[in-house]
């Protein structure tokens, strides 16, 4: 069996298991896994830009916030768009579109910045957008906005959002697989490794960077909108949160930045540690989390996937040497 078939088989199996889990899982674990789906989907979306092209954004929470507030205002001004779960469709898609368009506009000036300058510029963008939403009265970021619950009658909310976020994670993952294997993905890798060389190899670097940025922002915007629904009542500080921006980066780092599974594995590890293992040490948990993050990054600079790959390479090198010696 090729590694590709194995990967597809494992993915399908995981999706099936995930689909059946809520049938017997209690509310606590359903909520933990729902949070995992949401966070992992964010990390996967961040990874398309930050991991594949090397443009680390420190302000992706801007798109969570814009997505959530776009959906809320759209419903308030033009809604409702039906009732029950279907009422989410138009606002969520529109939120993605708005974030994508916004990203395309700011891409022109800020994607010219490289490395840490881009990271800081995005941090600035998220602060500015957050402040605007907070202080411009029309946005009502200070007082807060409501989103009508789309949860169908008789369904537990955590189960409903479990499926919605699960589906979005799957969507984000499949998109990043498609990107990775396409010409688009190669362009982004080339940009990450060396942008000048990429240009010299005929890669239209500007265009591909903007495409990755818009795609990433669109996905995060949609996730932000659904998150808005799941919270129900939004203020600026519910969604424009620095810890959202940082988590996306940390989860990718822990799992393996720029890889397909890294963001998901990293999120799983970190959420398991913080939500399950440390749930009893509320007073200490940030301290311990910090220590764990530093340790993992020091011991495994390539993340879990990177460590796994280098282990595998080592053992196959060893096998090769033994074979070569035997041949001699």
């Amino acid at each position: 069996m090729s590694s590709r078939t194995t990967a597809i088989a494992i993915t399908v199996l995981l999706v099936l298991v995930a689909a059946l889990l809520p049938l017997w899982m209690g509310p606590f674990f359903t909520r933990v896994i729902q949070l995992f789906f949401f966070s992992a989907a964010l990390a996967v979306a961040w990874n398309i830009l930050g991991g594949f092209s090397g443009y680390w954004s420190f302000g992706h929470a801007a798109f969570i916030g814009m997505g959530a507030f776009s959906a809320a205002h759209l419903v308030a001004q033009l809604g409702p768009f039906g009732s029950g779960p279907w009422s989410m469709v138009v606002p969520v898609l529109a939120a993605g579109l708005i974030c994508g368009v916004f990203a395309a506009i700011i891409a022109y000036p800020i994607l010219r910045l490289r490395g840490i300058y881009f990271a800081i510029a995005m941090l600035g963008v998220s602060q500015v957008v957050g402040e605007l939403v907070n202080n411009v009265r029309w946005f009502q970021g200070g007082t807060g906005v409501f989103l009508q619950s789309p949860v169908p009658a008789g369904m537990r909310p955590e189960v409903f959002y479990y499926y919605i976020f699960g589906a979005l994670l799957l969507l984000g993952f499949l998109i990043s697989v498609a990107v990775r294997n396409a010409r688009f993905g190669y362009a982004l890798f080339a940009i990450r490794e060396d942008e000048d060389t990429a240009m010299m190899l005929g890669v239209a670097t500007e265009r591909y960077k903007i495409m990755a940025f818009v795609l990433s922002a669109t996905l995060v915007g949609m996730l932000g909108a659904v998150y808005g629904y799941s919270v129900g009542y939004l203020t600026t500080y519910t969604v424009f949160r620095l810890d959202f921006s940082l988590n996306m980066i940390v989860f990718c780092l822990i799992g393996g930045i720029g890889t397909l599974y890294g963001p998901i594995i990293g999120t799983a590890i970190m959420l398991f540690i913080t939500q399950v293992l440390l749930s009893r040490f509320l007073d200490m948990h940030l301290l311990i989390t910090g220590a764990i993050v530093v340790t993992i990054i020091l011991l495994m600079p390539g993340g879990v996937i990177g460590a796994f790959n280098s282990l595998r390479r080592k053992s196959s090198d060893q096998a090769n040497t033994t074979r070569a010696e035997a041949a001699r």
């Binding site: 362009a187 890798f189 490794e193 990429a198 240009m199 190899l201 005929g202 239209a204």
Partner: protein
Amino acid sequence: MSQIILSGRGVSKSFRGLKAIQDVDFDIPEGSIFGLIGPNGAGKSTLFNLITGYYPLTAGEIRFKDQDLSPLPTYRRNQAGIARAFQISKPFPALTVRENIRVGAMFGDASRAASEDTVEQALATVGLQDLADRTAEGLTVGALRKLEVARAFATRPTLLLADEPCAGLNPVETREMVECLRKVREHGVTVWLVEHDMKAVTSICDRIIVIDAGKKIAEGSPQEIVADPKVIAAYLGEPLEEAGH
């Protein structure tokens, strides 16, 4: 002689007050292997950077296949047929040799399937088939240089600018690289080569341009160049009695 593929007239570049390239003319005939030599800091890499569009010209004009290059961004110049192998090898370290070359092949005008043929052809041209599935990270300097040439070759250029492909190579590797460039030319690619290794340059080049302190000081066949007193002076300094004046 055949047609001129690349020509420069009055090519100049200043960085603030520093005149890096001054009024250089050149005509590169199609199908030739051309040399560009000069002491360190003479402006050889700057000249290549002007041709690839990394810097804009301060004055003058560069024409490629009779088309003015100045409005084209770097990636368009590549798509038009100019490739460059960098002096300091810049492979994508996390990718395998084949994937590195594939990046070069992918962004030409070809379809995905056609680009796989190009990748294999480039691997064969430089003789890297055995290392194709290794990551670029662990390669020797010699292999990295070949990869650099292969990746540029995979963009299907008609002109390859090779910036010191033999620097830091041992004599065996240098000979292999010279062979490699000959093979590139056999595929119909014009080669313009910056090189310090005089043996390599004189053995392979049809014609050589010499620049010093940003100015062209000589042009001719390898035999003419090595005998040219101006070239000798630029490389070795003026004879002692003249320097005393």
